[in-house]
């Protein structure tokens, strides 16, 4: 057999091909009665039938690759994943009909073109897998590929460029990685390219500028795309929407973008872009949305921006923009949102802002703006939110603010604003949030606040020079949640000025000159967690009704003129973390119920007239970090249960009382306590040796007591100045100014070594002396005897 070659080979193959086609055609006609076409009954032409087959096979092959990645039960996955994509029809016949496959749309309008797959839409189908086994070349007529909102991953195959007719490509919200394939740039019919919310990395290909039909380019929220925005992007003359936000783009914004005059939305926020906003952007006359926030843009806002009369929403916050805000911005008559916060903008707010009558939200906080708030702001009748906090603004709030009836939030915190707050502010019936703290405001608070409407929820006027009373109309502010007016010069009687506030959580009136009594209504504010009135002239008793506000966690009434007892009912406040009643004229005893403050961390009752013993139940408050009972008239012994307060760290101060008896040795358990003051009492005995276990002690004061005996072995004692010990009965110890201890117990403390040596020397000397005397005694005895013997022989010989 000879191998066919050239023309014969081709002829053979063609013949074979047509034969197969004929057979296939025959079988399809035979079963065509059961299958139905969507639009017409025209049988597919033979050539397209083959393509259709190819496409079907490609889809099935891809579907099979998805199986591998699907974590569903494999047995069931046949049924759950693209169940319609099957070669077997429902009735068991052999016909396959991609017209019925879900997500697949075919175009069979033109009989000549036949049925070809034009749309693949598999959005939100929970698909998992890659595109690596997707044979793109099998879909030469595909117009739309929509795979958005699945869990597809892996890289984007460059072969995707085989979809040469593609108009619409949407891969939004998957897990694709790797770079944007350069080959995508050859899809010159592409109008819509959405690759956002994936994990694509690498640069934007320069060639992207070739996609001259492109109207939407979305690469946003990949977080990893880097490099510069290519200048070639200026070639996308039809571009309407460019979204590159939330990536790592560097370099400047290309001025060529100014050529894209059909542009409607330009969002490049949350990148690392530097340089200035190009002047050419003034040409983008159709621009509605311009989001450049959270970059490193510098230099000033070009005045050409004022040409963008269709701009709705301009967001430039969180950059390094400098210079003044151009007054041309006042020309942006369509503007609803203007966000310039967190830059270094200086100069005044242009008066032309008053022309922005559509403005709903103006934020320019955290800048270096000076000058006054323009009176023309009174024209901004649509304004709902005004945020100018953290600037250097001076002058007063214009009275024209009374016209801004749609205002919901005013935030002017931390400026140098002065003057009286216009009373007209009280008329703003939608106002929920008024933040004026940390300025130089003076005069009265708005006296008719909440008369028209109880809309106010948050108010802060702290740290100003407000004078006069708290407005009587405050009773009507029934939606109030937080109210801070601390550090002012407010006066007036507060006994009747506050109503019941069911939503109130936090109120701070501290450091004013308010007088009168604490209202019982606070007990009805059942959401109250923080009540602070420190440093006023409040008198009367602490109302027992306060105990009903059981959410209370912080109660600070220090430095007032409160009298009477600490009510027992306060024991109901089991959530209390901080209780400060110091520096008042409270009398009576501390109720045992103090033990019910099971979570209390700071308790200050100092500087009152409290008497009696400290209840031992206080030992149950084991979360205490700070306990100050100083300067009262407490008597009796210090309860040993104080030793249970092992969390005590910041201070234990019992000074200035009439405590008697000994210091409990249980204090040794307080090993986190850094500062201890027991001075000015009548404590007796010695300081327990267990104090050596108080390892954290830094300062100690036991002066003005009746204490005696040795100082404990504790570094804080050794380092303490003389004043910490003076006026006691008789301390001793190895500290300068104190006598050394001579009682037997002290001997144990002094080193034994030197004593041993002394004893040794003395005993040796004693023994030597004894031996010497003994020796002399014996010697002289024998010497006398010797003399006698010597003398006698002479006498005997005569």
């Amino acid at each position: 057999m000879f191998a066919p070659f050239g023309k014969e080979k081709i002829l053979c193959q063609l013949l074979l091909f047509f034969l197969v086609l004929l057979i296939l055609l025959a079988t399809s006609i035979a079963s065509s009665s059961s299958s139905s076409f969507r639009v017409s009954n025209t049988a597919p032409s033979p050539s397209n039938y083959a393509f259709q087959q190819e496409a079907m096979e490609a889809l099935l092959e891809w579907k099979a690759s998805l199986y591998r990645h699907n974590n569903r039960d494999h047995n069931n996955s046949q049924l759950l994943l693209l169940p319609s994509w099957t070669v077997m029809a429902a009735n068991g016949s052999n016909s396959s009909n991609p017209w019925k496959w879900e997500g697949i749309t075919c175009n069979d309008e033109a009989a000549a073109a036949g049925g070809v797959i034009t749309i693949i839409n598999l959005s939100s189908m929970d698909l998992q897998g890659t595109l690596h086994d997707f044979n793109f070349s099998s879909f030469p007529d595909l117009l739309r590929l929509d795979l958005q909102n699945n869990s597809l991953f892996g890289t984007l195959p460059p072969t995707i460029a085989n979809l040469s007719q593609l108009i619409y490509l949407n891969l939004y919200k998957n897990n694709f990685t790797g770079s944007v394939p350069v080959s995508l740039a050859t899809l010159n019919k592409l109008t819509f390219l959405h690759l956002g919310t994936n994990q694509l990395s690498g640069p934007i290909p320069l060639e992207i500028g070739n996609l001259s039909s492109l109207t939407v380019l979305d690469l946003s929220f990949n977080f990893l795309i880097n490099g510069s925005i290519p200048t070639t992007i200026g070639g996308l003359k039809n571009l309407v929407g460019m979204y590159i936000s939330s990536n790592q783009m560097v370099g400047s914004i290309p001025m060529e973008i100014g050529n894209l005059t059909k542009m409607n939305s330009l969002m490049v926020s949350d990148n690392l872009l530097t340089g200035s906003i190009p002047i050419s952007f003034g040409n983008l006359s159709k621009l509605n949305f311009m989001y450049f926030y959270s970059n490193s843009l510098s230099s000033s806002i070009p005045l050409e921006i004022g040409n963008l009369t269709n701009l709705y929403d301009l967001q430039l916050m969180n950059n390094y923009l400098t210079g003044s805000i151009p007054q041309e911005i006042g020309n942006l008559r369509s503007l609803t949102r203007l966000y310039l916060s967190k830059n270094s903008l200086s100069g005044s707010i242009p008066a032309s802002f008053g022309n922005l009558t559509n403005l709903q939200s103006l934020q320019s906080s955290d800048n270096l703006l000076t000058g006054s708030i323009p009176a023309s702001f009174g024209n901004l009748t649509n304004l709902q939110m005004l945020q100018l906090s953290d600037n250097l603004l001076t002058g007063s709030i214009p009275a024209s603010f009374g016209n801004l009836t749609n205002l919901v939030r005013i935030n002017l915190l931390q400026n140098q604003l002065s003057g009286q707050v216009p009373q007209e502010i009280s008329n703003l019936s939608k106002l929920q949030d008024l933040q004026l703290a940390n300025n130089h405001f003076n005069g009265y608070l708005p006296q008719h606040i909440c008369i028209n409407s109880a809309s106010l929820i948050f108010f802060s006027g702290s740290n100003n020079h407000f004078i006069g009373p708290i407005p009587k109309s405050m009773r009507n502010c029934t939606n109030l949640m937080r109210f801070r007016i601390d550090k002012n010069h407010l006066t007036g009687n507060i006994s009747e000025v506050f109503g019941v506030y069911p939503n109130l959580t936090f109120i701070d009136l501290s450091y004013n000159q308010l007088y009168g009594e604490i209202s019982r209504n606070w007990g009805k504010c059942l959401q109250l967690t923080n009540l602070k009135m420190t440093g006023n002239k409040i008198s009367g008793r602490i109302p027992p009704e306060l105990g009903d506000s059981t959410q209370l966690q912080g109660l600070e009434l220090s430095s007032n003129f409160l009298v009477g007892q600490v009510p027992r009912e306060m024991g109901k406040l089991s959530s209390l973390l901080i209780l400060k009643l110091n520096d008042n004229q409270l009398s009576g005893t501390v109720p045992e119920d103090v033990g019910l403050f099971s979570k209390i961390e700071r308790l200050d009752l100092s500087m009152n007239n409290l008497r009696g013993s400290v209840p031992k139940q206080l030992g149950k408050c084991t979360y205490l970090l700070y306990l100050n009972l100083s300067n009262n008239r407490f008597n009796g012994s210090i309860p040993v249960e104080i030793g249970n307060l092992v969390s005590l760290q910041i201070l234990l101060d019992l000074s200035g009382n009439l405590f008697t008896g000994e210091i409990p040795p249980q204090f040794g358990s307080l090993n986190k306590l850094t500062n201890l003051n027991l001075s000015h009492n009548n404590l007796s005995g010695s300081i327990p040796s267990t104090f050596s276990e108080m390892l954290s002690l830094v300062t100690i004061d036991v002066s003005y007591n009746e204490l005696e005996g040795p100082l404990p072995d504790n570094r804080a004692f050794r380092n303490a100045p003389m004043e910490s010990f003076i006026h006691n009965k008789g301390f001793c110890g190895n500290v300068t100014g104190l006598q050394p201890c001579i009682s037997p117990s002290t001997k144990k403390q002094t080193p034994k070594h030197s004593h041993k040596v002394v004893i040794l020397i003395i005993s040796i000397l004693a023994i030597l002396l004894f031996l010497l005397f003994a020796f002399f005694g014996i010697f002289s005895f024998f010497r006398r005897r010797m003399r006698c013997i010597v003398e006698d022989p002479i006498a005997n010989q005569q």
Binding site: Y168, T191, F192, H194, T215, V216, D218, V240, G241, Y243, N264, S265, M267, F289, Y291, Q315, R337, S341, K342, S365, D366, S389, D390, L413, Q414, Q435, A437, F506, D508, T529, N530, Q553, G554, L577, I578, E601, Y623, L625, S647, Q649, K672, L695, S696, V698, R715
Partner: protein, 215 residues
């Protein structure tokens, strides 16, 4: 038609994003808010931690100084679990970090070394693992370092002997190894500060190579 739909979709999405609470401009609010996100808080100890406030100084368990910077974080015995993160390093003026007796796990963030004003670090009785960060050597004001009763491993960083203000150092009941330093303040710590570390050897022998390798 699709274009319009897409634009409308993206506009509404962006509107939602812009209206939702953005990061506070106060870095300490953000740091504590991030900490709260890491912690599991069944008894709602962190209920007052409102990130929309201008600073965290009215939050319970947080103490600020007169310039509204956080100096104390008191969360001892608070039944919290979870982990700590690098955001703690943003609390630049922190002096007291009290997180003892909880169920916090994970590593001790090395960013703690950035907190130059730290006086007290109490992480004892938790589930901390990993090593004691060497970065703690930067804490020149540190007086109290209590890391006992955790699952810390590795050796005691020699560098800590330079912390001359250290009064209390407790690493007992961990899984530390190597030898106990004796220089500087370590000369005065009682042996109980180191007990119950199975592989921790006695005080280092001077003049010999330290045995911390292979540890």
């Amino acid at each position: 038609m699709d274009l319009l739909r897409f634009l409308l979709f993206s506009i509404s999405f962006l509107l939602a994003v812009a209206v939702s609470p953005t990061l506070s401009s106060n870095s300490e609010v953000n740091a504590l808010h991030a900490l709260r996100a890491r912690l599991s808080d069944p008894t709602n100890v962190l209920q007052s931690w409102d990130p929309t406030l201008v600073n965290p100084c009215t939050w319970f368990h947080v103490t600020c100084d007169s310039s509204n910077h956080v100096i104390r974080l008191d969360l001892g015995n608070s039944n919290v679990s979870g982990t700590l993160g690098p955001e703690l390093g943003d609390l630049r003026r922190l002096q007291y970090l009290e997180l003892y007796r909880n169920n916090i796990e994970g590593k001790i963030p090395k960013e703690l070394g950035n907190l130059k004003n730290l006086v007290s670090v109490d992480l004892y009785n938790n589930n901390f693992e990993g090593e004691i960060p060497k970065s703690l050597v930067k804490l020149k004001s540190l007086r109290f370092l209590r890391l006992n009763n955790n699952r810390l491993t590795g050796s005691i960083p020699r560098e800590l002997t330079a912390l001359s203000d250290l009064k209390v150092f407790d690493v007992s009941n961990n899984d530390l190894c190597g030898t106990i330093p004796i220089d500087g303040p370590f000369g005065s710590f009682p042996i109980e500060s180191f007990e119950n570390n199975r592989r921790l050897n006695g005080p280092e022998l001077k003049g010999l190579v330290s045995y911390d390798f292979g540890c």
